[in-house]
Symmetry: C2
Subunit: 178 residues, 2 copies
Amino acid sequence: MNSMDLLKQRIYTAQLNHTILHLNRNDFIKQAGSIDTNLYLIKSGTLRVYNIIDSEEQCLYFGHKDSAITAIDSFFSEKRSDYFIQAIKKAEVIVIQKNTFMEFINSEKENLQLWQAILVEIIQHHIERGQDLLTTTSADRYTRLMKRAPYLFQEFPHKYIASYLRMSPETLSRLKKS
Amino acid sequence: MNSMDLLKQRIYTAQLNHTILHLNRNDFIKQAGSIDTNLYLIKSGTLRVYNIIDSEEQCLYFGHKDSAITAIDSFFSEKRSDYFIQAIKKAEVIVIQKNTFMEFINSEKENLQLWQAILVEIIQHHIERGQDLLTTTSADRYTRLMKRAPYLFQEFPHKYIASYLRMSPETLSRLKKS
């Protein structure tokens, strides 16, 4: 079990103050330009985080059942976020405010240790992602992601994975067949 | 003063066990393939961290006087690192082993809080960097970096900054003039 799963169990046991969002397919939790420091725990459904760079949608993160998702640029800085968070499928999401969450983190040493481990996991994710983005050939980017997160290909529409991989859906489709 | 500066002051006051490296221009602290979990505090000189992707050197991080540097892929995972760390100019570097450093971090609540703030700063750096890498036009990448870290252009050879910006030195030179 990873650190986020362990922390989530503790969050559920502690019954932190929260609200619940019921989203239909394509509903937005947020759009670019807003400040959003909430933590979103996904009970069911799938979501994506994306932004628009040079007039193109860029898929940045995927959220699936039992995972957590945030507008990470806003969550830490508490500034305006460039990100969109959108349901890909009908979804149920638990919303916890950052101050509620951070109070909980700071209330017990074990929570703090788990949070520290999660921060390190986020860094490691971004190191991997940075390497992805510097990998020039589409085939190598595809292979890296297949190795790191094969479940994405089962759970998410391939047009979004193609965007995450910085390639056209046609190129992804060709790579899958080869 | 940022969190790393504050933590460094505490490291110096605590006189943690360390060694000192004296590097000449172009000397390597490490090459790709080794495990390296040390923390390097730069007393003087400049260094770069790079790796080789698709046969090309990719500048990943810059280290200058009073900053800290690591093979970050190895520091957290304790696995083999793909990174090279090389002195750009004659440099003096304080080397602190990870276990010494982490014992120090865990020894006091204030250290832990600073370390947590540093982890968040590292995440924020990587979020920015991810946006850089997704920005398709060279001019926009140049403008972003000029805004975020103008000092780099004073301190580092422009061939390395060009590599960091994923453009040729000629393109960078043209953008600087425009």
